[in-house]
């Protein structure tokens, strides 16, 4: 169960240049570094809003985080205390990068019920989102493998085991 607060609401086609401009990508290999520059050109107030809570939830529209494959976009969100994104759809690259890092991405057909400031309970085991502020609950769909991977924070354990198998040949 994740409890969080909606501190950002975006429209369609937010891209990964919006989330973390390219000029920061090669300034550090430390993931925390990217928190400071999240949405630096598109919405610099994002970082201040994220300070309201440790468990931020971001709402997006269609095609959230399209464009460049930069995984630093995931770090920029996670390191600002974003625990979950709820949007209508995600491109595959960002979805995979989020799976790799345990940033929970939920897809729902309609995000209009979610407003800035709403407090949510996100139940990954039962696939429900309870909006405590609005008094509503919706269900969402998620592949059980993805649910497992999000909860484990990635799949490095599986890859390690695979590497061990290969080296033993």
């Amino acid at each position: 169960m994740m409890t969080g607060k909606i501190t950002s609401v975006y429209g369609n086609d937010i891209n990964t240049d919006d989330i973390i401009p390219a000029s920061f990508l090669q300034q550090s290999t430390d993931r925390k570094f990217f928190a400071e520059y999240a949405f630096d050109r598109h919405d610099p107030a994002f970082r201040d809003r994220c300070k309201e809570t440790d468990t931020n939830i971001v709402i997006g529209g269609e095609n959230f985080a399209c464009g460049s494959s930069r995984e630093q976009a995931v770090y920029a969100l996670k390191e600002n205390g974003v625990v979950c994104v709820i949007a209508q759809s995600y491109p595959d690259i960002f979805y995979r990068n989020s799976l790799s890092n345990g940033l929970v991405l939920i897809a729902v057909p309609d995000t209009s019920a979610f407003h800035m400031g709403d407090e949510l309970n996100v139940d990954l085991d039962n696939f429900t989102i309870e909006n405590k502020t609005q008094g509503t609950t919706i269900r969402f769909e998620m592949n059980p493998d993805d649910q497992n991977t999000f909860q484990q924070g990635g799949m490095v354990g599986r890859v390690r085991r695979h590497l061990e198998e290969l080296l033993a040949k």
Binding site: D13, D17, D18, P21, S28, C66, E71, M155
Partner: protein, 447 residues
């Protein structure tokens, strides 16, 4: 029921027929490359995540197959910061220790050089640490961009994990391109038609006599921008043009590939090339396209009905122009640009930057007098790298800049200031505009 190329490639690697929508837990990949942006953190993570396992197995920390992995410094070179320089040195030392090819600064852009050097062949599964890895689909491969973590895992085991077999969308190209209209105009037109998310989760398969009429250079431009309509990648079939390109060049065995005539597609579109015009994408996204004859209407609409990603544009004047990037700086792009430039000068109010996509393109352009055309006209011609495409170096934009570029993205802030206006177009359109100081229909230069 027939299969698409995507299904065939995955089936071949997995060793049995796969279904669309099926999740492949461990998909073997055949080529993997890193640029200077992601190479250094991927190397660090590879050592951190797997070093211990290699130690315990008593084996050196080697990549899955050093002949199938490449490092190419292309984004931020010549290295413009100490941190970037340290990163390139790390890529070089890591490669040297392991017998991996690490290209030199100035050798060129990742999505150009490996194809030039015959490292990419049909039936490959290609992973690159850059979303424009889709470019390689023009060689009949399943090629896509991945993040640092997927790339690091692939480095260790040669696999991509939990890959879901995607559907394909067919774009059947018919007719022939009119003079002054190029493959960049085709793909911009398609992206405008489909929208920024129009191909989401699907592979864009470009086919038909229209594709077969295009050279390899022209084809790569189209696959390159498939990601701009959120396609997983772009792909094209093997044919005589590809066979000819790969002859005496391919470093790996070449086998033909095409989709079966009865393969199943999520959607099919027909594009008549003869009906196309030079096309321009307006800020702030590649999908904001207009045929050049409707340029004034588009300018007026941007002022009347702006949105967060369709910002007001004052007029058609420009201050900057860029002929470069993985999208459009190959030999033929320079030929087209030079054909327009020849006999003219860069407009006094415009800064034109020209960056050949690779050292080989640079040398050929030099030998054939193309570079001279640009230099004498007043362009700034640079050694091969990604250049100002992504807003870090080689010509960063101010808030007052209006840039027309042969690259692939014009998001807010993409090339520098968030207030800059970036237009995307073909090399011919970019050079015509650089001459006249305003967005210009290049067709008059081809009469």
């Amino acid at each position: 029921m027939g299969q698409t190329m995507v299904e065939k490639i995955v089936s071949h690697q997995v060793g049995r027929r796969v279904q669309i929508g099926e999740k492949i837990e461990r998909l073997p990949i055949t080529k993997l490359f890193f640029n200077d942006v992601i190479g250094p953190p991927a190397i660090e993570n590879f050592m951190a995540d797997f070093g211990e396992i290699f130690d315990r197995a008593g084996k050196p920390a080697q990549v899955f197959d050093p002949k199938r992995v490449f490092f190419l410094p292309d984004h931020s070179v010549p290295t413009f910061s100490i941190h970037i320089a340290e990163g390139v040195k790390l890529m070089q030392s890591f490669s040297k220790e392991r017998g991996i090819k690490c290209y030199k600064e100035g050798d060129g852009i990742e999505h150009v050089v490996l194809i030039e050097d015959g490292q990419i062949v049909p039936w490959d599964i290609v992973l690159g640490t850059d979303s424009h890895t889709d470019t390689n689909g023009a060689l009949g491969t399943l090629a896509f961009g991945v993040g640092t973590t997927d790339a690091e895992y692939a480095m260790a085991t040669g696999h991509l994990y939990d890959f879901v077999v995607p559907e394909s969308v067919k774009f059947e190209l018919t007719g022939a391109l009119p003079k002054g209209v190029f493959s960049k105009d085709i793909i911009l037109h398609i992206i405008g038609m489909m929208g920024a998310g129009g191909c989401s989760k699907r592979v864009a398969e470009f086919t038909g006599p229209g594709v077969r009429s295009l050279t390899m250079d022209a084809r790569t431009t189209m696959c390159n921008m498939a990601v701009e309509m959120s396609a997983r990648t772009g792909i094209m079939a093997y044919d005589e043009v590809m066979a000819d390109f790969l002859k005496d060049r391919a470093e790996w065995p070449v086998e033909p590939i095409d989709s079966d005539p009865d393969a199943s597609y999520a959607a099919t579109y027909t594009i008549d090339l003869s009906a196309l015009e030079p096309t321009v994408a307006f800020p702030n996204k590649p999908a904001n396209t207009t045929p050049i004859s409707k340029l004034q209407d588009m300018i007026e609409r941007s002022q009347r009905e702006p949105t967060p990603d369709f910002v007001p544009v004052d007029d058609d004047t420009i201050t900057d122009a860029f002929l470069g990037s993985c999208t459009n700086a190959r030999y033929e792009d320079l030929v087209a640009g030079a054909a327009v430039m020849r006999g003219h000068k860069v407009h006094p109010d415009v800064n034109l930057i020209v960056i050949p996509a690779s050292r080989k393109v640079y040398e050929r352009a030099m030998d054939e007098g193309l570079l001279q055309v640009f230099v004498k006209a007043g362009a700034n011609v640079e050694s091969s790298n990604c250049g100002p495409c992504f807003g870090s170096h080689m010509g960063v934009m101010s808030g007052k800049s209006k840039m027309i570029s042969t690259s692939n993205r014009n998001y807010k802030g993409r090339m520098g200031s968030p207030d800059a206006r970036i237009f995307l177009a073909s090399p011919a359109t970019v050079i015509a505009s650089a001459i006249e100081g305003r967005i210009t229909d290049p067709r008059k230069y081809f009469e």
